[in-house]
Symmetry: C2
Subunit: 355 residues, 2 copies
């Protein structure tokens, strides 16, 4: 029995544990939960020589030529490509624009990289590209550079899209997970769980009475309205893969604060609640594509909330919790019955290929 730090050795390449002894990639490695985090922490960070904070923020922040930039990337493999209210094209533009906006930056320039499967209809690619162009115009960003690769039939799934993007961070703005502080008020900008359920409804052919449409949107205008109230917003996060629960856990861990959620304050639309009950899902873990979480100092919270509610993207903004001095690095929900429960990070994912 060795006493040193355990190391997995795979065919000459070795990595520190955990990676859960699985010698192969499983779907959960792409789910944004614990398996994804372990891949980053135990495989990518050591290999890239990155800092320990890598992966905790939605975008990287650095200075270049005197400009403070936010830089981010996301790859989109959602199935199906088109769904109620949007397509992979909308997600690809809004998703990366939002990651940049979550640093308080105005997203301005995007790149796109396509992996096309041989045999895909040109009309499918055409519709996706048009959706990307329309989403970019709505978001006020320019798609300025790109690349296209084609892979043999059977080695793709019609269209995969990567986008990366940059944006300028205004002076005086310093928004990142590590800044969450005891006393911060936690606000969500609107109804949660909508995107994930929109995808599941069309994928599984489920009917929930009313059609549930994705909430995909570029959130920067809402961020700008919030920053007009105060530059001192501590944390912003768009809770995509893994949902609100995963985002809150990542922030609680990064800042070593406790997060206390009030379950009955969560804005879950009835159709999402019903669909989740049917599918055995928890809305706290379902992906959103047009919502943000904000951690705001208590003295600013009322004014920020008012500004959010005055904006079309934040009409239903509401306070869902606070940062506390107890159970640091953990998220605990006060249930509707007055009890408490730990809101943990899922191992893998409830819904594969949701974005």
């Amino acid at each position: 029995m060795a006493e040193s730090t355990p190391v997995l050795d795979f065919d000459g390449w070795s990595c520190p544990v955990p990676l859960r002894d699985s010698p192969t990639i499983v779907m959960g490695h792409g789910g944004g939960g614990q398996l994804s985090a372990e891949l980053v922490q135990h495989l990518f960070v050591p290999a890239f020589g990155s800092q320990g904070d890598a992966g905790t923020a939605d975008s990287a922040v650095f200075e270049l030529g005197g400009a403070r930039l936010a830089f981010s990337t996301d790859t989109f493999v959602v199935r199906p490509l088109f769904f109620p209210g949007g397509s992979i094209g909308d997600l690809a533009v809004n998703g990366t624009a939002n990651d940049i906006a979550m640093s308080g930056a105005m997203p301005s320039h995007l790149s796109c990289g396509f992996i096309l499967e041989e045999g895909t209809e040109l009309s499918v690619l055409g519709r996706i590209a048009e959706d990307m162009g329309a989403a970019a115009r709505r978001a006020g960003v320019a798609i300025v550079t790109g690349d296209t690769k084609v892979v043999d039939a059977g080695h793709g799934d019609q269209v995969y899209v990567n986008t990366a993007g940059v944006g300028l961070i205004p002076d005086g703005v310093d928004i990142r997970p590590q800044r969450a502080a005891v006393g911060d008020v936690i606000i969500v900008s609107g109804a949660i769980g909508v995107h994930g359920i929109a995808i599941m409804s069309v994928r599984e052919g489920l009917e929930f009475g009313t059609e549930i449409r994705t909430d995909t949107a570029c959130l920067y205008p809402l961020v700008a309205a919030m920053l007009a109230v105060t530059a001192d917003i501590h944390v912003l996060r768009d809770p995509t893969r893994g949902g609100v629960a995963t985002s809150l856990n990542e922030i609680a861990s990064a800042a070593r604060v406790g997060v206390r959620l009030t379950e009955k304050a969560l804005p879950v639309p009835p159709e999402v609640r019903n669909a989740c009950a049917l599918l055995g899902l928890d809305p706290l873990y379902v992906a959103n594509e047009g919502k943000l979480l904000a951690f705001v100092p208590r003295e600013q919270a009322e004014a920020v909330l008012a500004a959010m509610r005055a904006h079309p993207l934040g009409e239903q903004a509401t306070v869902i919790g606070e940062c506390v001095d107890e159970h640091r690095a953990m998220v605990v929900a006060t249930t509707t019955f007055g009890g408490t429960r730990v809101v943990d990070v899922p191992i893998g994912e409830q819904l594969p290929r949701i974005c």
Copy 2:
């Protein structure tokens, strides 16, 4: 017979011609030749509302917060993942770093987006990530942000990697295809065709006597040495997919100059020449991953060439042609027998999934 501009209509999505009447994506759309260019010009540019120049430079150039930036992206789908002298990880770092360097910028920050196929061995991903980290350290760039998606078995090919990156362009540097001018001397930094043949040799299990290793390298240090001689370099281009022939054609078109090549001046190593003869390939069209083409004003050419030869990445730099006032937007080679031939852009690609 309609007299208006012909438009293809695919299932409600319409695009201007040509796109060659093919209703589906073919491998050649990813080959960097005419089919790729048509996809950009007739599908992406209209959809994105980009300018007509889109796609002619290796990177986009813009100002942000007072800093002049180069921004580029590339997706890598090379098969096999590991080959003599390198891997998809090396290409992913060096390829995007080089696209940025071809604007005269120092590549500084990279993003990476992975599409992993379920069932891929973690050790494969680990080796690729370590190659990326090592290449980034050699290139002096930091991988600062990333994303991982997993797709079901049978919808990928182990590992696809997208990288995007930014770099700062020094004051006084303005390097772009449109600046090629009559009288410019055209220099290549070393032996051509090496990367493509390295891939083909391992893919097809061919033996050419000596092992041919990829030339993958980050070219920025060579660019910096050239810029130390003069800021007035007109064009830089790394001739990857489609090879030297395609790059020269793109530059001739963008600047509306004629390009005259001297065939016997082309530095083709004997083993590449032999392999090309065996495979029925023209080395002018074979991909390179560690070479650059430079268009330099005649009066600076000698000093720039000397600086290149003094650098390890340019020891075999040589003049291969010039820009002329004839046959504008075309590339014409003077053959070893004293005749001339038009060097055209290939329709698709000779070698699929070469990068």
